[in-house]
Amino acid sequence: MELFIQFSYLAAAVLLIMGLRMLGSPKTAPRGNIIAAIGMLVAIVATLLMKQVVSYTVIIAGVVVGSAIGGLLATRIQMTAMPQMVALLNGFGGGASTLVASAELLNYARRGESPEGIVPTAIVLGALIGGLTFTGSLIAFAKLQELMRGAPLVYPGQRVVNALLGALTVGLGIAVVLDPANLPIYGGLIAISLLMGVLLVIPIGGADMPVVISLLNSYSGLAACATGFVLGNSGLVISGSLVGASGLILTKIMCDAMNRSLTNVLFGAFGAVDESAMAAGGTDDRVAKGYTPEDAAVIFSNSRSCIVVPGYGMAVAQAQHAVRELSDVLNDKGISVKFAIHPVAGRMPGHMNVLLAEADVPYDNLVEMDDINPEFPETDVALVIGANDVVNPDARTDKGSPIYGMPILDVDRARHVFVIKRSMNPGFAGVQNPLFFNDNTMMIFGDAKGTVLALVDAVKELV
């Protein structure tokens, strides 16, 4: 039986890897997801067959409650709220790992034994990473759901406090490894890991959330991996490290797309607007001219091609369906429409793709930054909807700009640029965008959804 269970875990790991691999293409991805789910089911059934599992009442109760909540969340959540959803799920995964590590330590204590070998270290890592992931994810959730301010929360001496807490955490961790039977110290470790999760995420601004969510995703996997070592279960170790690797890759992609190091994202409190610098250097005598949707429609009537650049503003205004309608109307007028997706547009990796897919935009029309940039000079209209920093030409040319070096979408090279924006407020990075003052740029001020719908009507009017 023991051997059968071990082989089942192996089968589960193979299914999970196959499933993840099939997520590599939109055609095979739905099946890949189902295969991964089957892999998970195999691992769960194998565990239930283990001789340590003697009572099923608590298990059934837990699974029923968890499935109900998970099922409700998954079916009710709006696509624009996907970053919050993922943050919340990360948190639950991390929380579960902490609880498992703690329960295992209590079992050792009850038996009057002390864990040996790598087990104490694994318990500490599982509890610590899991606890930090739990509270960190809840804060990320609160910021994304706008239950708390998205802006970075900074206070004097923040770094010193964090460094001291970090040192204390390491000290407590070592103390637990040396004396795992001392439960009060372990309790202290849990408390401090929960506190660390909060303190590490509060200074990070809303637009840096793609990095934070990716990193927390990675942590939830690493916490599961650590509990695998606690229990001596290879299935957990393999699956946990798959997720750990996945989250780390996404984290790196997000950091590269902002041309910033992970340290800078986590500790730089980017976007905590330096008012004095803005007042001194950020003034611009030029005034951006506002135009109406009708003015834009006139330009459209002489155009053959359009590239839409969506940003977080489109998500906030729930404008994806209106954008799709505009794309249809333009198509009817013989204008080709593509969508340029910046890697960090939105609040999580791939956020814009999901929203546009929800609005029935075919995925062939969603083009990555490196593939679409050469096309801008040949394009009649670049339509920027609720994006700012990812289209700021200063990133290419102004060495003094905070976002210098960040790869951007070259919208300024299109013949005409329309920018739909609520106001002239600078973007997340707190820097002014010279794109808005260019001669070939038309600013259309207003809410993304209302403005796009007005644009739809205006284009329809033209023959």
Binding site: M40, V53, G66, A96, M348
Partner: protein, 97 residues
């Protein structure tokens, strides 16, 4: 088996390596479903939760196990379902006749 540090390290390193290889091939188009899907997989910690809740051990660890099962099940069920829902929305261009 994992008591042997060499075996443990081998499994860990190889699994991380496979993870890096497999995930690097996922296009940015699918990064959100990848994230929610891998999220569901991190709910594998449910295995440990089942062992904690189903054992004949102390009541406190049974309760911790119960909460862990609830958390992990939300993670697994919610993760796979929402990924399925999202992936269902990704459609190719309709062939134009």
């Amino acid at each position: 088996m994992l008591d042997d540090p060499a075996v443990a390290a081998t499994i860990l390193v190889l699994a991380l390596f496979i993870g890096f290889e497999v995930i690097s091939k996922v296009p940015p188009l699918l990064h959100t479903p990848l994230m929610s899907g891998s999220n569901a997989i991190s709910g594998i910690t449910i295995v440990g939760a089942l062992l904690a809740a189903g054992g004949e051990d102390t009541t406190l660890s049974t309760w911790l196990g119960f909460v862990a099962i609830v958390f992990a099940t939300i993670n697994v069920v919610g993760g796979f379902l929402v990924t399925d829902r999202m992936l269902g929305m990704f459609k190719p261009k309709k062939p134009t006749s």
